[in-house]
């Protein structure tokens, strides 16, 4: 066990050991991603969040709001709605990550991980990757139920893949935000409470369900820069769905693909190191 790295490795030895350390870190991430997904086999109710919930959202909003909300330019509301629900689901990834990590912290399992010679970032990386995979299920269910209520894709596969890529990038950023919340929360309940107080306002001050054109100016500015709005606008544009936001002279609404990519990249660049730092700091007390 100790043969691969001596107790007092020379500097050269330490550098030579790098690829080995990296391989081990990747193994840790793989094992912990697998662990989060393997839990579903014994507790399938964990899938409700990413299966039944998107389905209910699509059915509920497409029947309740259809007709009540008139889009500028009179576009098809159901075609408009699906990208919005899609974007909200991507942001919702944060909730699963926050609660999952909070539960792990309170169960003592994280103590076991900390006593093992494993990579410290792997606990968070494994969790966020597994949650990303779950979000993929939510995306598929949203799309399938969207097709059911009359939503259609009007562009080619390249645009669709780009939309999916932007969506997953945002979901990954949201997962890291959730990781930060999970590290700060006192338990699953507080993680859930914090998650909801952020996710609900963020979802509703966006163009997910409505057009931002008629909002009060200050609220409109917030909504136009909201990463949920930006992702929804990008998806609408890439999938050829009604996109009245294209007429809004706000930079993120004029360049939603680029804006969404920048938003997600910036969030990951800040939140991922922050979450790891919080994890290590929590270890020390």
């Amino acid at each position: 066990m100790s043969a691969s790295t001596g107790s007092q490795p020379a500097r050269a030895g330490r550098i030579a050991a790098w690829p080995q350390e990296l391989r081990w870190a990747l193994t840790d991430v793989r094992v912990l991603t697998w662990r989060t997904l393997a839990r579903i086999a014994t507790t399938p109710e964990q899938l409700l969040n990413v299966t039944v919930q998107p389905l209910i959202f699509v059915l509920l909003f497409s029947y309740v709001f259809n007709g009540a909300i008139i889009l500028p330019g009179h576009g098809n509301y159901r075609e408009y709605l699906i990208a919005g629900i899609f974007a909200i689901n991507m942001g919702g990834t944060a909730q699963g990550t926050a609660i999952g990590l909070a539960v792990d912290l309170s169960s003592g399992l994280i103590d076991r991980f900390r006593s093992l010679p494993m990579s410290r970032a792997a606990v968070l990386a494994g969790r966020t990757l597994a949650d990303l995979a779950m979000t993929l299920v939510a995306a598929a269910i949203t799309a399938a139920s969207g097709l059911l209520v009359g939503w259609r894709i009007h562009r080619g596969p390249a645009d669709v893949l780009l939309a999916l890529g932007l969506a997953l990038l945002f979901a990954y950023a949201a997962a890291w935000a959730g990781a930060c919340v999970g590290m700060l929360a006192r338990g699953a309940e507080s993680a859930q409470a914090v998650g909801l107080t952020v996710i609900v306002p963020l979802s509703l001050t966006s163009n997910a369900f409505i057009s931002t054109a008629h909002l009060t100016p200050w609220l409109r500015d917030i909504a136009n820069w909201n990463p949920v709005s930006v992702l929804a606008a990008a998806c609408r544009q890439l999938l050829g769905n009604p996109d009245p936001a294209a007429a809004i002279s706000s930079w993120p609404m004029q360049h939603p693909e680029l804006a969404s990519a920048l938003w997600s990249a910036a969030l990951i660049a800040v939140l991922a190191p922050l979450a790891v730092w919080l994890y290590v700091r929590r270890a020390r007390h």
């Binding site: 076991r112 006593s115 093992l116 494993m118 007390h285």
Partner: protein, 318 residues
């Protein structure tokens, strides 16, 4: 193998540990014994690199716990007060996962998991989620999990707390097996019997510091007195008590229910024979006689109460 000097830790204004000195040679078993809140868990968490000490230093398996935490983690196993395994995974999946995280190749992790499941009598439950396990099975799985990386130093924090007597006995058997394999073991417990059964040496801690250290026999000898329990015909009790007074190490007590005396004595060779002879010479028949050695309970009460107020004079055996 484990070496600590002046290890201290506070949580806010609460001083959990005020200066722990500890020395556990390779292959031996040390027990940290103390009441709830004595600082046992804090000590283990610092030695296992989960907590950073405020003061002092510790070396485990030759590495500093702060400066070389990663090297320490490579050589230790930890089983905590609460079973730290994934409730939603099967027993086998838990062990394979922890094996891989302990740097075993996947195939080796699987092989070792199967071996440990068999050794801890968990094969039949191996494919069930851990949430269906009983308390004893969970503890055994948790212990198995701490052994996957073949640690040379093992920390067991109150391994049998909350278990029924049968499961406790079974777990003691398992722990003795590990000790026989040459693992260095640091065990914490609030059960005196457990310390007596398993440990080579005992370190009594109370209020965040060491109040006594030694082998179970040494600690018992420190308390000094054993008790002679005598059963004598009721008519001769008063006279027997008078005679035994000059042989006793303290006041002779008449036990409720009549017919029995409890005599504190300093144990020595030939003591029982002498007592019987003296009573026989006085014409008193002895129906029954037994020598009760001081138990660790006596030691525990003596050390965690009395000496906490009188200070640690002469407590440091090392």
């Amino acid at each position: 193998m484990i070496e600590a000097r002046g290890l201290a830790k506070s949580f806010g204004s609460a001083r959990a540990l005020t200066g722990l000195d500890l020395s556990v040679p390779a292959g031996s078993t040390m027990c940290l014994l103390g009441p709830n809140g004595a600082g046992k868990t804090t000590a283990v968490r610092m030695l296992a690199t989960l907590l950073r000490p405020d003061a002092g230093w510790a070396r485990v398996a030759g590495h500093d716990v702060v400066a070389a935490g990663h090297a320490v983690r490579r050589r230790i196993g930890l089983s905590g007060q609460y079973a730290s395994v994934d409730e939603c995974l099967t027993g086998r999946s838990n062990l394979v996962m922890i094996g891989e995280l302990s740097r075993l190749p996947r195939r080796e992790a699987k092989r070792r998991a199967a071996e440990l499941l068999a050794r801890f009598d968990l094969q039949d439950a191996a494919r069930r989620p851990v949430r269906t396990y009983s308390g004893g099975m969970r503890r055994r799985l948790d212990l198995a999990a701490s052994l996957l990386g073949r640690p040379s130093v093992l920390f067991l924090d109150e391994p049998t707390t909350g278990l029924d007597p049968h499961s406790r006995l079974a777990l003691w058997g398992v722990i003795r097996g590990l000790v026989a394999d040459g693992t260095t073991l640091l065990l914490t417990t609030q059960y005196l019997e457990e310390a007596d059964q398993i440990a080579d040496r005992i370190c009594v801690i109370d209020g965040g510091r060491v109040t006594a250290e030694g082998t179970p026999a040494e600690l018992k000898a420190r308390v000094g007195t054993a008790h002679l329990m005598l059963t004598i015909p009721a008519a001769a009790l008063t006279r027997a008590a008078e005679i035994l007074c000059c042989h006793a190490a303290g006041p002779v007590r008449r036990l409720p229910g009549g017919g029995s005396l409890e005599v504190p004595v300093f144990p020595r060779a030939g003591l029982v024979t002498d007592v019987v002879r003296v009573l026989d010479a006085a014409g008193i028949e002895v129906d029954d006689i037994a020598l009760r050695q001081p138990s660790l309970t006596d030691v525990f009460h003596a050390l965690t109460r009395r000496e906490a107020s009188t200070g640690p004079d002469g407590e440091r055996a090392a």
